[in-house]
């Protein structure tokens, strides 16, 4: 059993009024020095069987079609191993410029 974590965040250009409201409340509560807050969602998926390339591809697909609305949101996929260590496994950015895919493929075997 392994856990796969999907983080979903509003794209940088999309206004996040909830995050702004949190940020504005901070000084009132005595927390100074936080210039910006963005609020997102974290999904923890308990995966049956091995988290191999095929399983990650399916999770990537479910994140892209369901967990995130890619019109307004980006997502990242990370594998959390039993010892709590994490490794990236790709994201939903159109650039694909992260090293996540290479890392996860390398770690699968």
């Amino acid at each position: 059993m392994a856990r796969v974590v999907v983080d979903v965040m509003l794209k940088p250009e999309i206004l996040d009024p909830q995050g702004q409201a949190v940020q504005r409340a901070l000084p009132r509560l005595g927390f100074e020095g936080i210039s910006d807050v963005r609020q997102g969602k974290r999904f923890e998926l308990e995966v049956e069987g091995p988290v191999d390339a095929a399983a990650l591809a399916r999770i990537h697909e479910l994140a892209e079609t369901f967990l995130a609305n890619t019109v307004i949101e980006d997502f990242t996929v990370r594998v959390q191993d039993a010892d709590g260590s994490e490794r990236p496994a790709g994201d939903g950015s159109p650039h694909g410029g992260n090293t996540g895919n290479a890392t996860s493929e390398g770690a699968v075997a």
């Binding site: 206004l15 409201a21 369901f66 609305n69 019109v71 307004i72």
Partner: protein, 227 residues
């Protein structure tokens, strides 16, 4: 044969009975459709309304779970074949989640739930759902939403404007931070329309601020009878 306009009920739909009432007042036969029943052909509906409310408690994102219901698979298929579909409020959110309409609806920029009578301008009076209006006509119908801010990237917004696919626009102040004051849009063919304001709540003098909303339903009825 009477024209049959279906109204879908999802778990958490609120305005399905008002939508059916609007259909009846317009002169068509309302047909109650259940989200789990994907057999639209058996129901013999000529058009479908996706009503307002909070389908699936707005869990995940507004409209995100309703999109995967059996009936939506059938609605998407029929809509692509030309069947008229109107999405109101939560129904608009569902249409965006299915990608029948571009863009998305996000939390109101001021974070408050807005509930008021809203002035609108009908920008496109040629869709199946707005043909009974005059282009540029101003109407007043109720608006009530917490996540009604319409967003899309600039290229999509330019495309919508350029192709005349903005159907209704907010007047007298933008109530939710929608880009370019957009209150409702249509697909390229003009058979699918989504809007945040509620025309079904403005079909009778007794209960609505006006009867300005009735035109959405009479428009579709006339188009269907003529075809």
């Amino acid at each position: 044969m009477t024209t049959r306009i279906g109204v879908v009920t999802f778990p958490g739909s609120l305005d399905d009975s008002d939508a059916r009432r609007a259909v009846r007042i317009a002169g068509a036969e309302p047909v109650a459709l259940w989200h789990r029943d994907g057999d639209l052909r058996r129901q013999q509906v000529d058009a479908v309304v996706l009503p307002g409310g909070f389908s699936y408690g707005d869990y995940l994102r507004c409209g995100a779970i309703a999109r995967f219901s059996p009936i939506m698979e059938a609605v998407v298929e029929q809509a692509k074949a030309g069947m008229p579909v109107l999405g109101i409020c939560n129904g608009f959110q569902v249409l965006c989640e299915t990608h029948l309409l571009p863009g998305a609806l996000t939390r109101n920029d001021h974070l408050h739930f807005v509930c008021r009578d809203q002035r609108l301008r009908v920008e496109n009076a040629e869709t199946v759902w707005t043909a009974d209006y005059a282009g540029g006509q101003e109407i007043v119908v109720p608006l009530k939403n917490g996540e009604g801010g319409y967003v899309a990237d600039e290229r999509t917004l330019d495309e919508l404007e350029g192709e005349g696919r903005v159907v209704v626009r907010y007047l007298g102040g933008n109530p939710n931070g929608s880009r370019r004051d957009i209150a409702g849009i249509t697909n390229g063919a003009g058979n699918v329309v989504g809007l945040m304001p509620h025309p079904e709540h403005a079909v009778e003098a007794l209960t609505g601020p006006t009867t300005d909303g009735l035109g959405f339903f009479t428009s579709a009825l006339k188009k269907l009878v003529a075809s």
